[in-house]
């Protein structure tokens, strides 16, 4: 099979000239790696560089990181609250937490994204709805963060619950017996121990947030996948555009894994084995 395809990695180095204080060196750098002639390397000189594609990629990556990290903050805090709620004695609290988990875990993320973006603002009280639709800056970004955070919180909640339930009841008794309140037992014993146990599944969940953040492009968030697709549409260099996206996602994933490994090693409880990732 032969494929007619003009590889041109240089489009990915296109930048806006005014963004580039060291314009000459950048052009040279582009020129050395690009097609002969090197004239097409700046924004206004060649058809190939009709847009600052490199800036698009950088900005897309930036938004992916921002959206995923903000969503993760929601995930870990809300997931902890819900997970803890599933382990307490009050049946009412447990039922609410269980309902949350079942709803958010079982509705496809894409559907949730649309519901948050198109439906929820209509359901809000009039003033709040108007504020979200008209005045909230970057509504699609906020929506994506909240949606991703709450979706993944349902998974994190299950992990936190499993972590807590894996701790023998004797630990709770030992804490209570010294006069700690139940809240203190969670705060100082059950949660610190269970977080350490569930670091591997939490890691894969954090990576999941990065990957799932691409769904946000459906409501107009210009994150990495959206920018790659836009570059593909502008340049027809689809392979380059999506290869870059792939490599960047893998790099982010690698960084997350590495950081979490370090964290895991730092806080490891001597003599214990963490739960397998999933």
């Amino acid at each position: 099979m032969e494929m007619k395809y003009n590889w041109d990695w240089s489009v990915l180095l296109c930048r806006l000239p005014e963004d580039d204080p060291t314009g000459t060196s950048e052009t040279t750098f582009g020129g050395t790696t690009a097609t002969a002639g090197g004239a097409a390397q700046t924004f206004d000189t060649g058809a190939d560089c009709a847009q600052p594609y490199l800036d698009w990629i950088v900005s897309g990556l930036g938004w992916t990181v921002v959206v995923a990290c903000c969503a993760w903050v929601i995930t870990i805090s809300l997931g902890s609250v819900i997970g803890v709620s599933r382990t307490v004695n009050q049946p009412m609290v447990r039922a609410i937490a269980t309902t949350y988990v079942e709803i958010f875990r079982n509705i496809p993320l894409l559907v949730q994204m649309f519901i948050w973006f198109f439906v929820v603002p209509e359901l809000l009280p009039e003033d709040a709805g108007r504020w979200v639709k008209r005045e909230l800056p970057l509504p699609e970004y906020w929506t994506a963060i909240v949606c991703l955070g709450m979706y993944h919180a349902s998974r994190t909640a299950e992990q936190v619950r499993a972590g807590i339930e894996s701790i023998p009841l004797g630990q709770t008794h030992a804490g209570l017996a010294t006069g700690l309140t139940r809240v203190q037992v969670y705060r100082y014993i059950l949660l610190p121990v269970s977080y350490r146990i569930i670091i591997p599944p939490l890691t894969s969940d954090f990576m999941g947030i990065f990957k799932n953040s691409s769904v946000a492009l459906t409501i107009g968030v210009m994150e990495l996948t959206a920018q790659s697709r836009q570059i593909a549409e502008y340049t027809f260099n689809i392979f380059e555009a999506f290869t870059v996206a792939t490599v960047l996602y893998m790099m982010v994933t690698l960084i997350v894994v590495t950081v979490m490994r370090v964290v895991e090693a730092k806080v490891r409880i001597p003599g214990t084995i963490a739960m397998g990732g999933g």
């Binding site: 004797g170 030992a174 209570l176 017996a177 010294t178 006069g179 700690l180």
Partner: protein, 242 residues
């Protein structure tokens, strides 16, 4: 100090405690023994409110454990408890284990808590283990840390639930020695154990439980001196031959 009056408890339909009454006076050591599943742990957990009970009254130092308005955390902070499986907190060092509740419950400053902690570690002969994690201790060491952790709260009474039954034989004595010293210093103690040597040495009374009932509650000399009836004798003959 500890009064248990006509206490009954059910897990669902299953009656674990059946009309149990006993008491531990100030400075007394009461040993509780009986076959597995007879309700010993449950009884002791009722004393500091770790298990609720449906009937009867338990008072500790005049405070009713089962009453609605009892401040259970405060009451528990005054009663030390030592468990069969030590139950040290695995993510904390030995010293942190001993300091946690001193700081969070008694609101002691860190320095003060650590000073007290080191004194107690010295007392149980583990001063060099302060920075270790529980996983790196032997069973006997871990249990001595657990005793130190309980003592750090300056308890008015101590509860022990089979403190030596998870230990290798050669470590049992190092824990019993600490308990004997504690008893001789006048600590009020309720001790579930099958170490009859310990009972003979320091117990004031021995309580024998079977199937949720207190079958025998007698002074030490009486308990070991006269031939006991029925199940208690059978039980004693079994564990004493170990």
């Amino acid at each position: 100090m500890i009064e248990v009056e006509n206490v009954s408890k059910w897990f669902g339909d299953f009656q674990v405690l059946d009309d149990c009454s006993t008491q531990v006076d100030k400075g007394q050591v009461v040993v509780v023994c009986g076959p597995s599943g007879s309700g010993k742990s449950t009884l002791v957990k009722c004393v500091n409110g770790l298990e609720p009970f449906q009937e009867g009254i338990i008072t500790v130092n005049g405070v009713s454990v089962g009453a609605e308005d009892t401040n259970l955390p405060k009451l528990r902070s005054q009663i030390g408890m030592v468990f069969q499986n030590f139950e040290l907190f695995p993510h904390m060092t030995v010293l942190e284990n001993i300091c946690l509740s001193q700081m969070k419950v008694l609101k002691r400053e860190k320095d003060e808590a650590e000073e007290r902690g080191m004194k107690l570690l010295d007392r149980v002969d583990l001063i060099d283990q302060a920075a270790k994690h529980p996983a790196h201790l032997s069973g006997g060491q871990a249990q001595r840390v657990a005793i130190a952790r309980a003592l750090a709260m300056d308890p008015i009474a101590m509860l022990f639930d089979e403190p030596t039954s998870a230990l290798d034989p050669e470590m049992i004595n190092e824990v019993l020695d600490v308990m004997v010293t504690l008893a001789q210093e006048g600590m009020t103690m309720m001790v579930i154990t099958h170490e009859m040597g310990f009972a003979k040495q320091v117990a004031d009374r021995v309580v024998f439980m079977d199937e949720g009932r207190i079958e025998d509650d007698a002074g030490k000399d009486e308990f070991f001196g006269e031939p006991r009836g029925g199940r208690a004798r059978l039980f004693l003959s079994k564990i004493l031959t170990h």
